[in-house]
Symmetry: C3
Subunit: 139 residues, 3 copies
């Protein structure tokens, strides 16, 4: 049984879903395991992880529209406004999605479904450097 | 240390919470590990996983009612409508719940709490064949 | 490769975010692993887990305010009311957050980001004894 870890740096230019599928697959497949478990972990509280459809880009547009409506910027409910009108909504959006994700590896491949992609969901409007940790265990 | 993987096929007849607890427990307990980690992963973007109360079936009815109200079918916000009025809501509902779940195994048992069940949450109205991967590592 | 498990008991006095970061870190660091994967699992359906900002306590106040508004107690939508007006909302809030969380261990440390804390999110108004399982695998 072996373990591998790596940090994937994602350069985000504002609120958006960033497709990181290929970078993740490349790293995992480079380790040469046959069976294992991949865990992704994002080290932030205003950006998150999401498995989502990666075929029709309209899905990404709609996903962002839904979260923008559900957790509106500048909501008068919030008292933590010192970091801007999009900061507290970013924390809430992170809470509603994922900070960690685990995906099995089978037959040497990350076992994503046919339409699944792995996304980094940036919730702040400004640019930010984000870190996604990758941990792989298996043999 | 050993690993095991299996695919659990779930035949869904429309939007509903499907209790898969017994199938999961049977498979894990059949592997005979004492201590380990079970990870469930669903290979879809319009169905998800949920740990929920499995005692009073009214909880399942209310859970579905809440998500139906929070993410209404046919919402005019959405532009991705080509696959039907329930497709984009299904992607959002998946984002708001879980694609992967990990549960420790202790003393040879999956460490569910007393009232916890494992559910596959189908979000489409139509029938669908769903695949839940099970990965187990331990000794 | 080694495994360790432990139960963290959390005594909750009503609905609130309880910071359990230090207890988790202390336990993990006591096992002396260099590289590994930590999984937290809560054995309840009306309390959940959350990675959240642990710097400004206003973030916790706002997070609770958001969930109180999104899933109001005593909502007439719900039929499962026998355990009180906050019980079904507690199940929904659990579904919208996390029952399990996995965090890599690197260089002997739990790889939390600079502003991340680990919280137990109690959703019931009454006092409750909660159990968070910790599973660690690595070497």
């Amino acid at each position: 049984m072996q373990q591998f870890t790596e940090t994937l740096a994602v350069s985000a230019q504002g609120r958006k879903l960033y497709d990181i599928t290929q970078e993740v697959l490349d790293w995992v497949h480079g380790q040469g395991l046959s069976t294992g478990l991949l865990t992704l972990y994002i080290q932030h509280t205003s950006a998150s992880l999401l498995i989502n459809e990666n075929y029709d880009s309209d899905v990404l547009v709609d996903m962002e529209a839904f979260f923008n409506r559900l957790v509106p910027d500048g909501d008068s409910l919030f008292i933590h406004t010192i970091e801007g009108p999009d900061d507290m909504p970013a924390h809430v959006r992170t809470a509603l999605t994922q900070t960690s994700l685990s995906i099995p590896v089978r037959d040497g491949k990350v076992a994503l479904g046919q339409w699944q992609g792995i996304f980094m969901f940036e919730h702040r409007m400004m640019s930010a450097s984000r870190r996604v940790l990758m941990h792989l265990i298996g043999d």
